[in-house]
């Protein structure tokens, strides 16, 4: 019906993608934060045990008879047992002299009585966590610095870390899926009011230009209020133009009617033949103008209504029947007979005012262009589409002009001497087109015009 406006992206997609992208970034961040934190804690745990064990060894040292004596407590290594059976290495140095343990293990510089030095290193091809602690021993006449280096492989730690990583990954996946669900849900609830507004605009009848009253989210208030003000203005200007058309018709026809009645009266009083002829021409011109005015206004009205088609379900038979009843007196004046043959219950959807106007123009033509004492047949049928067919017994359309007669202001050769504006068929065709149907002109084999208006 209306052209699709150019599309640039989709709010829903943009929102969903932004939210999911955000969730993905957050998930990755969460994963690494949790893992880092847990790694630190786990490493801290191992360091604490290593430190305690090294301190226990250091504590067992004493100077006896001027000799350093280190009596490693059983618990020192016992506390280093791990589920992964990590290897343990140690070395004891007095000043810089190796006393016992693993000679390849060298103490780190910087350990003092106040604290140990921790380090991750490789020992014998294995990654180990290493602590160096030291203590000053004061003997009878000397002070000795004792260093204990203690190292442990990190199998249990890395197993713990693997587990933590797995759990963190699970947590991340859970968080992410939840976030995806949430963002889809959030998006559809956010987009919802917009979609509902669009639906309610689409659902409205063509005449419904009332403002939207349902509450909308505050962000949509500017849109809805400008929509409302647009519709208000539209409603106003539509009303104005309808009024204007009616007003114009009235303003033109009333003075013309007055002029005509004066002319008629004058005709009664004038005796001279040439004067009478002049007045007759005047009356004729007035009729032409009056006809043209009313057809123009009808045409304008039809153009206007066709833009805002007010579809209703119509019983064609009833509608046309009513019209025929109204036109019968006019036909009798010309000694013409109107025969209506309508199938029962031929229904179509359309604007009754427009359809009536079209059919009236067609019957009008039949009355106008066929000789008196003939009959006009009006047939209504449902197959193949609902249609009204009007045929007369007149001369029919001039065959060479048939194609052009529906054009605006087009009149046929046979219309000379008949009052008309050339808009009747135009109106009928416009109405047919507005309803998605068509108007067909043809001549009957036995003479006479046949016009079919189908929907």
């Amino acid at each position: 019906m209306t052209a699709r406006p150019p599309v640039s992206g989709s709010l829903r997609n943009r929102l969903v993608l932004t939210l999911i992208g955000g969730a993905a970034v957050l998930t990755v961040l969460l994963f690494f934060t949790v893992r880092n934190y847990a790694t630190q804690i786990a490493q801290q745990g191992q360091d604490n045990i290593l430190g305690a064990s090294a301190a226990a060894i250091l504590d067992s040292a004493s100077i006896r008879d001027g000799q350093i004596d280190v009596d490693i407590p059983y618990s020192a290594f016992s506390m280093l047992a791990t589920p992964s059976d990590d290897c343990v290495f140690y070395a004891i140095y007095q000043d810089d002299v190796f006393l016992s343990g693993y000679k390849a293990l060298v103490p780190e510089r910087g350990a003092s009585d106040r604290g140990g030095v921790y380090k991750t290193a490789t020992f014998e091809g294995m990654e180990v966590r290493l602590v160096t602690v030291s203590r000053t021993l004061i003997g009878a006449e000397q002070r000795r610095q004792l260093h204990v280096v203690l190292a442990q492989t990190q199998d249990a730690l890395s197993e713990t870390l693997d587990q933590i990583s797995r759990n963190a990954a699970l947590l991340g996946v859970g968080f992410f899926s939840l976030a995806v669900l949430l963002s889809v849900w959030a998006t559809s609830t956010t987009i919802g009011p917009l979609k509902r507004l669009a639906d309610s605009v689409t659902r409205r009848g063509p005449q419904d230009l009332s403002p939207f009253a349902k509450p909308v989210p505050s962000e949509m208030v500017p849109l809805v209020s400008s929509l409302n003000s647009l519709m208000g203005r539209l409603d106003q200007s539509l009303g104005q133009s309808e009024d204007f058309i009616a007003e114009a018709a009235h303003r033109v026809r009333t003075p013309l009617a007055t002029v005509r009645s004066y002319a008629e009266a004058t005709l009664q009083r004038v005796d001279r033949e040439e004067n009478r002829n002049a007045v007759r021409s005047m009356i004729r011109a007035i009729d032409e103008s009056s006809r043209a005015a009313s057809q123009l206004l009808d045409h304008a009205m039809i153009t206007f209504r066709a833009d805002h088609l007010d579809r209703q379900t119509i019983d064609l038979g009833e509608l046309v029947g009513e019209l025929v009843t109204r036109l019968t007196p006019l036909a009798e004046m010309k000694d013409l007979e109107l025969n209506l043959r309508a199938e029962k219950g031929v229904v179509c959807s359309g604007d009754p005012i427009l359809i009536q106007n079209a059919v009236r123009n067609l019957i009008d033509n039949a009355l106008k262009y066929s000789p008196s004492e003939s009959s006009v047949d009006i047939v209504i049928a449902a197959e193949p589409r609902p249609h009204v067919c009007i045929s007369d017994q007149g001369p029919g359309f001039p065959p060479d002009e048939v194609g052009k007669l529906a054009a605006r202001f087009a009149r046929g050769r046979n219309a000379e001497g008949t009052i008309g504006s050339g808009l009747g068929l135009t109106i009928a065709e416009d109405v047919a087109t507005a309803h998605g149907g068509e108007l067909t002109l043809s001549n009957l084999a036995g003479g006479g015009a046949c016009v079919t208006l189908s929907f």
Binding site: V70, F77, L80, D86, C87, V88, E124
Partner: protein, 335 residues
């Protein structure tokens, strides 16, 4: 000439300088695979059924079974880890240190209870309590001691009977003896008092369990302390001459362990042998293998075994060992 010198040098460790083996046997010499060189502290006769069973399933494999003392095993293996495929020893601490030092191969996919293996590289396959073994004759007419405390009293009561007739490991030479001694000392002060009493009786010290059990069987000694009961039972033919006592005060139970050398020349055969060893359950009627199998550890009623954990390294520390041996000598060797 130079080649000749090199050859001599290469052969030296195999011949001249090396001590002779306690026992050295080749099983299935006609086989085509191997040989798998097993360094073990367990007597060949006791271990042969396991080897035979393995060979009956793997008939192409040649096994060279080399027996020596626990301390010697450690020395020899450390000196040349490439020369041996499997190390089996009762000295849990020395074995654990081998594994700790990266000399043992980590076996994948071996399902063995956690408490009976360490680092997937050291696998326990027996649990054997240290016992007091006595010669019944020496206790004829006297109550049989049930605990270390009882033994101290019995020894004190009849010093003339036991003078020179008590024995235990020389912990300076025997790895297993040192393990038992240190674990005993850790458990209770009683150990030191027993050592003092035994020392005062001019105790005999043995490098290896075999000699000690033989002396006990023929009556040379009346009491052997910290001997593996199962081992004694397996070795002594006339079971009535001896009695094996599980001391009721506190248990010291050792697990015999096996490992595959990280530098094994036959790693695949060695691995399948160790797998066989730890999954081997004596079939009904097949009680040839006389070492007691592992007992379910987790029910609290069983005698606790020495746990396989890094704490075993403690008494292997040079300073600690020096100190312990000094104390031990003080107690045992009396002027």
């Amino acid at each position: 000439m130079r080649n000749f010198v090199l050859l001599i040098l290469a052969l030296l460790p195999l011949t001249g300088l090396a001590q002779p083996w306690e026992d050295q046997r080749v099983f299935n010499p006609s086989g085509t695979e191997g040989p798998v060189r097993i360094l073990s502290s367990t007597d060949t006769t006791i271990f042969a059924p396991v080897l035979d069973q393995f060979l009956s399933r793997n008939p192409t494999v040649v096994i060279e079974y080399l027996v020596t003392g626990t301390a010697d095993i450690d020395r020899r293996f450390r000196a040349d880890p490439r020369a041996f495929d499997v190390v089996i020893s009762s000295a849990m601490d020395l074995q654990l240190k081998l594994a700790n030092d990266g000399l043992a191969w980590q076996l994948r996919n071996v399902s063995h209870p956690d408490w009976a293996q360490w680092r997937q590289s050291l696998f326990a396959f027996t649990s054997e309590p240290a016992t007091i073994v006595i010669n019944r004759q020496a206790f004829a007419g006297h109550p049989i001691p049930k605990s270390r405390q009882d033994l101290i009293q019995a020894l004190r009561a009849r010093p003339e009977t036991f003078q020179g007739r008590v024995g235990t490991y020389d912990v300076r030479q025997s790895g297993l003896g040192y393990l038992f001694a240190t674990q005993d000392a850790r458990a209770s002060e009683t150990y030191w008092r027993l050592m003092e009493v035994m020392g005062s009786l001019d105790m005999r010290l043995y490098c290896c369990s075999g000699d000690m059990i033989d002396d006990l069987a023929d009556g040379t000694i009346a009491v052997a302390y910290n001997v593996l009961g199962s081992y004694a039972e397996a070795r002594v033919e006339d079971k009535d001459t001896i009695e094996i006592i599980l001391p009721s005060d506190f248990p010291t139970t050792m697990m015999r362990t096996a490992l595959v050398s990280a530098n094994a020349p036959q790693p695949d055969l060695a691995t399948s042998f160790v797998r066989h060893l730890i999954t081997h359950r004596p079939q009904a009627g097949e009680d040839d293998f006389m070492l007691p199998a592992l007992t379910p550890h987790d029910n609290g009623h069983d005698r606790a075994v020495i746990p396989l954990e890094p704490a075993l390294l403690t008494f292997l520390d040079a300073l600690k060992r020096r100190k312990f041996l000094a104390e031990w000598e003080d107690a045992v060797i009396q002027p």
